[in-house]
Amino acid sequence: MNPRFIGAIVAMRLRRIAADRGNVIWLLVMPLVFTFMMGELMGDWSASGAKPTLVVYGMRGADPAFSAMVDRLGTSDDFRVVARDTTAAPARARRLLEGKYVSGALIIAEDYADSVAAGQRPRVQFFYDSDRRSSQGVRRAVDRELARLATRTAAERLVDPAAADSDPALASAFDDSAYARLYEEPRVRLETEVRGRSRGADLLVLDDAREHSAPSYTLMFILMFMLMSAKDLVLERQNRTLDRLRIAHPSTGDLVLGFFLSGFVLGLVQGGLLLLINSLWTGIDYGDSPAALVLVMVLFVAMSSAAGLLLGTLATSGGQADGLGMVFGLGLPALGGLWWPLEVTPEFMQEFGRALPTGQAITVFHDLIGRGHGVAEVAPMLWGLGFWAVLLLVLAALRFRRYSV
């Protein structure tokens, strides 16, 4: 191996790519357009940066305490409350939730006030999606307010002379302001702290669709550009610059490494820029493990470059290289969950997708962004990516050797 020859080949190939300004479209513009476009289109979990929505159906005026609860929910910084003074069928609430129009739907039954007055258990229905983080946040707030309402109702009943189960000794003991003060400033306070992110293994735990679209289209366009570059190798064979390379001083190993590393360097620059731009633009947090982030990018780019090289050695014409590049450049991302999250596909497709390098890479990104995983947790997927990179590079080198005497 001669680093000078390898460096000359890498520099030449990068210079050629830079010479064609149209490449910027495929390297940077298209991935960013797709990231934005698909991020916008992928429903509530993107929500264009808007807050999750809790819709409340019911006659709020029927019960002052309940009305106060809804008002308190409305002061949350984490979601907004849309109150509808109508009743709604559960089917409608479910439809809104499944359509990702809202993160939660609260239905107050028409007979709520009457039930309370009659000392019966009033019925309140709450719909939320346990797979969505925004939905989980809304549920926590609703749970807290319902608990507060329930304890207040129970306390009022204890001191209500009309209630059958009231305690006459406490008849004048209930002090509404004292109750409110004690609720706001309890004698015992439970402090909870979330360390890292949700660890639900099979759940999609991203807050914003761009947390998926940014890494996925970065990965997809890296792979696509590499596969489309396979045509260059075919053209080098056809116009016999490859023959010239072969009879010059570099060994076959130098040539293979030169071709591989040129794609590798380009992919790292492309990937690094896209991740950076997306981070600055949409504020995406790639997690707490820079090492895992670097590793997944390095391995995915290596796999992509090797795949492009292998395709270049297999294709017999420029048209064939283009066609195969398009098939694999679109097919692998689709099967691996780059177009849409693997989590929305059937179980067997998820397993199949995670056996592919695209599925492995995006799973690592989801784990880093959504679950706060580190290198140790994502190691199986990184090993998978490494396996693909080595396998494809070895196959490409073996094919490349066929050109040499």
Binding site: R4, F5, A8, I9, M12, R15, R16, A19, D20, Q238, N239, R240, T241, D243, R244, L245, R246, I247, A248, H249, P250, V405
Partner: protein, 312 residues
């Protein structure tokens, strides 16, 4: 400098080079002449280590191509028929790149690039992208790229295909100059006139086999020295002509082909006045006269039964 003995190269069952043998001396400009598909490019590919031979022995600059391909590669330069350049880079960047791959760097690389750009008259266009070059300029740069490391032997595979006469003349002049400076050149072509003008010796190759070998005069002698005279004659006078022709040095009896008499004679210059006098005596015109000296086209026709231009 180049020794090819019983070279065989097959693609599956197709025999592209069939027991080919020839030698090229140091400093010689040797031509391989033949139509497309004759095996010229395959031969040059084996000689330059790009293809393995299926039989025979090839030694280039003292190195066996099978046993020491690296040694061969260090000593040869190759100019393929295709424009083997990166057209999206400048001429200077192309030469610099090829120079780097031959181990040149720094000032020696810079100097060599300048020298070659000057040699191929492209100094003023050094920073221009190759894609903007004319066909002739690309061909000259293609040639320069094969010379970056100062090879002992240069393989040129039809380096003038597809360019005009002026550009071709420039390239041939350049090759002649390189050869005058001591470079051994193996030149393949299907242009007869190029082979005749340029090469010290010529090997005529057809269907992978060497059909003839020698310098131009030797080759022509293989088909004899006779000239051919063609003209139109009324059919009733043909028998008289047959009787008279022997006295003018005719070789064999005259024949009629495509409506014209074909008369082969030892010396056309002497036979023609006698033919003229014979025609005037009979008050016959000399129509559609054509005199043909022996040439490589005749040789090729003679060897293969086909005209070279019909096969290219």
């Amino acid at each position: 400098m180049i020794s090819v003995q019983d070279l065989v190269k097959k693609y599956g069952s197709f025999v592209a080079v069939d027991h080919l043998s020839f030698e090229v001396e140091r400093g010689e400009l040797f031509g391989l002449l033949g139509p497309n598909g004759a095996g010229k490019t395959t031969t040059i590919s084996v000689l330059s280590t790009l293809l393995p031979a299926d039989g025979g022995t090839v030694v280039v600059a003292g190195c066996d191509v099978g046993r020491d391909p690296g040694g061969v590669r260090r000593r040869i330069g190759m100019v393929p028929q295709e424009i083997a350049l990166y057209e999206d880079l400048s001429a200077r960047d192309n030469l610099r790149f090829w120079g780097q791959l031959y181990g040149l760097s720094g000032s020696s690389l810079h100097t060599r690039v300048d020298e070659l750009l000057e040699a191929v008259e492209l100094t003023e266009h050094g920073r221009q992208r190759v894609s903007r070059f004319s066909g002739g300029m690309k061909r000259r740069l293609n040639l320069a790229a094969g010379l970056m490391h100062g090879p002992e032997v240069l393989f040129l595979d039809e380096p003038t295909v597809g360019i005009d006469a002026q550009a071709r003349s420039k390239i041939l002049d350049l090759i002649r100059r390189l050869n005058d400076d001591g470079l051994t050149v193996l030149y393949t072509t299907h242009y007869l006139e190029e082979a005749e003008q340029l090469c010290d010796r010529i090997g005529v190759i057809d269907q992978g086999r060497l059909a003839a070998l020698g310098d131009k005069d030797e080759l022509i002698r293989q088909i004899g020295d006779e000239d051919t005279i063609r003209f139109v004659l009324p059919p009733e006078a043909f028998d008289d002509l047959v009787a008279a022709a022997a006295a003018w040095g005719a070789i064999g009896d005259p024949e009629i082909r495509r409506g014209r008499v074909v008369l082969r004679v030892v010396d056309g210059g002497r036979a023609l006045p006698q033919l003229q006098a014979w025609l005037e005596a009979r008050d016959l015109p000399l129509a559609h006269l054509e005199i043909e000296r022996p040439n490589l086209e005749n040789l090729y026709l003679n060897l293969t039964g086909r005209a070279l231009r019909e096969t290219t």
